[in-house]
């Protein structure tokens, strides 16, 4: 029989064991969100494809046709879609998991489970969308009769990195959102802004050499570059210092995010 001790300030060791004990909840909460999302919509699952498709069309026309940005010999829509895929994963994950704690306030005030599961399951839900959209990438490549290079086998690494970056930042936002509801407005703004700042509609080689490192402070830069290197190869090289910086930033944000989340978690039920 397990002996549990409840005291102010003491939850550490049990927490990680509890995360394992409640592991099925990761699945159930994600399952619930996906099910609910598609229950009453006519468009349903197709929405996961329509959204990136439309974004791609708009960006390809704006940056490709009108902006005449260089595409390194690759069809511009393909270039753009390679950026959209990880970006949409990141932005949906950030938006949804940022709100996740507040949206699940009824659970948080009435049932015990490690609260880390809540933003995590939102990231998982966005990941499912990502996988569906990735199918479309394959279709697009077939349409352009484009063969991906051998680098493609490194894709899982960059997917993992995207997952980590999304989760790391969403921890901060979710925890902050409980205390400061302003983030409800800040997050969509940051996401919109980020869409144009990050190399989604254009290749990051457009950025002048001397600003490249600074530019890589945005973890999505390294990730999108990596995606392009994996899928398109050829002209798309990884800017290694940039990638290293992106990974470092992600790690720091993740560790501090977990720290902040755990620190404020004990007051969630009181404040939410």
């Amino acid at each position: 029989m397990d002996r549990l001790i409840i005291e102010a300030g003491r939850t550490e060791s049990v927490y990680w064991a509890d995360l394992w004990r409640y592991r099925e909840l990761f699945y159930f909460l994600a399952w619930r969100d996906i099910l609910v999302r598609y229950k009453q919509t006519v468009v349903g699952v197709a929405w996961s494809l329509i959204r990136p498709l439309l974004t791609m069309l708009v960006l390809a026309v704006v940056f490709g046709k009108f902006g005449k940005m260089p595409s390194g010999g690759v069809p511009y829509p393909l270039l753009v879609f390679c950026g959209i895929l990880p970006w949409q994963f990141f932005s949906t994950a950030l938006t949804e998991s940022g709100n996740s704690l507040v949206n699940n306030s009824n659970l948080i005030s009435k049932v015990y489970f490690p609260r880390l599961i809540v933003p995590a399951s939102s990231v998982i839900t966005s990941f499912v969308d990502f996988l569906i959209s990735a199918v479309f990438l394959v279709v697009l490549m077939m349409w352009y009769r484009f063969m991906p290079p051998a680098n493609i086998m490194f894709i899982p690494f960059f997917v993992l990195l995207a997952f980590a970056a999304s989760f790391a930042i969403s921890l901060w936002v979710a925890a902050l959102m409980v205390e400061y509801r302003d983030f409800r407005f800040i997050v969509p703004f940051v996401v919109q802004f980020g869409l144009y700042i990050s190399p989604v509609g254009f290749a990051s080689s457009v950025v002048p050499e001397k600003y490249r490192l600074l530019y890589s402070l945005n973890p999505m830069v390294g990730i999108i570059d990596g995606f392009r290197w994996c899928v398109l190869g050829g002209q798309y090289q990884i800017y290694w210092p940039g990638l290293a910086l992106s990974m470092a930033v992600t790690t720091v944000v993740a560790i501090t995010g977990i720290w902040y989340f755990r620190k404020t978690e004990r007051t969630f039920a009181d404040v939410i």
Binding site: L4, I6, G9, N106, Y112, D182
Partner: protein, 439 residues
């Protein structure tokens, strides 16, 4: 100490109430404060004084122990700290000071239907709710059929829960929770929802859980349920533990607290009154035969009335008011429903109504009696209001001998003390005894 499954020592929980700003208000205020008077803001971050925060101790120095297999009731007025105590035991919120040791798996039922999503079907919600309450998927699958038959919603298993009536919703939610198998079960006021039948089913299930040797902690305002189910009870008042011990004794103490005993209660502000848009309670009075409010005690031989005044806000509703009576030990004496032919099936028009129920004299036993009033539909059991122990009165005895006591000088036990009609007849002039006596 060794056979206690729950040990609570010096538990305290403090909440901070910010007077000007509610938590979660916004960064704007933090930034505003910082900008307006930077030095003052910096200083106030360092000391708590300038923050105008008031501290409120929801629980103060609570210590008690629960042994394996005990069924412990927690009672107290609203605001006594019962729900806070349960939240801490369920690890939803942390204590401020103190220490709790728990041995065994805990499952908490603080609300019926936690996590239910209206768009999902009954079947999907069973899995979701079960998982949230701590059951594994394998466990839920195993108990699925039992849960469905307990809830009696087989026909509607695959319709979205938002189409369920409130009764079905609550039955399903309780069915899932009832099949948890923790070593320690914590239940908060779930009997407050649902109709009488549902409450009976809940109580029955909790009794069977208790009989399997599990430890149960149960919070309720329904004192009858507490005395029926619990061996021990704990009384909380304004955050402190006031009494603990045998359930009937503690219930008695709670009920007999002077502030709990009054013969009339009214809700002049109808927006705060119990009820819904159809029917709202206006006042409850204990009355004597001339219609005036009872002031002190009523003689055991005299009839006593309970007058319920209510307003009907939506015309066309059909319902019946009812009256529950409990005695000083928390035992329910009766439930009486207003079955007047003129009203029981008649759709009501808007307006204010009074219904008076007369309890005959020479019926109740002496002592304090607690009145609970309810109003519901008889067929669907839809409940409009149910106010427990809202008023109380004392039945007293003078020395005059024409009550059910007669000339008997001892104490007459029993929850009621009716004057029954006895009929005696002399059957024959011969006694069998005389015939068989030896000659």
């Amino acid at each position: 100490m060794s056979d206690s499954v729950i040990s609570i020592a010096n538990l305290g929980k403090r909440y901070v109430i910010g007077h000007q700003r509610a938590a979660g208000d916004g960064i704007r205020h933090v930034v505003e404060d910082a900008m307006r008077a930077p030095v003052k803001w910096l200083r106030s971050r360092a000391s708590n004084k300038a923050r105008q925060r008031e501290e409120f101790w929801a629980l103060k120095d609570i210590s008690f122990e629960v042994k394996q297999g005990e069924v412990v009731g927690i009672i107290g007025r609203n605001g006594a700290g019962k729900s806070t105590l349960l939240k801490i035991l369920s690890r939803i919120t942390e204590p401020t000071i103190g220490r709790i040791e728990i041995e065994g798996r805990v499952a908490s039922l603080l609300e019926v239907g936690t996590g239910f999503h209206p768009e999902l079907t009954g079947r999907e919600n069973i899995f979701l709710n079960g998982a949230i309450l701590g059951m594994s998927r394998v466990e839920i699958k195993r108990k699925f059929d039992e849960i469905v038959s307990f809830s009696e919603i087989e026909k509607f298993l695959d319709t979205p829960v938002k189409r369920y009536s409130s009764g079905m919703y609550v039955r399903l939610a309780f069915a899932v929770a009832a099949h948890l198998e923790p070593e320690i079960l914590i239940v908060d006021e779930v009997l407050a929802v649902g109709d009488i039948q549902f409450q009976k089913k809940c109580l029955g299930k909790m009794e069977s859980v208790a009989r399997t040797g599990r430890t149960v902690i149960f919070v309720s305002h329904n004192i009858g349920a507490i005395t029926q189910l619990c061996s021990r009870a704990i009384l909380l008042d304004k955050g402190s533990l006031v009494d603990s011990g045998d359930a009937a004794k503690v219930a008695n103490r709670y009920l007999n607290d002077a502030t709990n005993r009054q013969t009339a209660m009214s809700w002049p502000d109808q927006s705060q009154a119990p009820g819904n848009e159809s029917v709202r309670l206006k006042s409850v009075r204990v009355v004597v035969d001339d219609g005036t409010t009872l002031l002190d005690g009523v003689d055991v031989r005299d009839p006593v009335g309970v007058e319920i005044e209510y307003t009907v806000g939506k015309s066309g509703v059909v319902f019946a008011p009812s009256l529950h009576l409990h005695n000083g030990e928390g035992i329910q004496i009766f439930l009486s429903i207003d079955l007047e032919e003129d009203w029981v099936r008649t759709p009501r028009q808007c307006g204010t109504y009074t219904s008076v129920a007369w309890i005959p004299g020479n019926f109740l036993n002496i002592g304090t009696h607690y009145v609970s009033v309810a109003c519901s539909r008889l067929d669907t059991h839809e409940l409009h209001f149910f106010e427990q122990q809202v008023v109380a009165f004392n039945v007293v005895e003078t020395d005059a001998g024409d009550s059910a006591r007669g000339d008997f000088s001892g104490s007459l036990p029993g929850t009621i003390r009716p004057m029954l009609e006895w009929r005696t007849n002399r059957m024959s002039s011969v006694s069998d005894l005389a015939v068989t006596a030896p000659v």
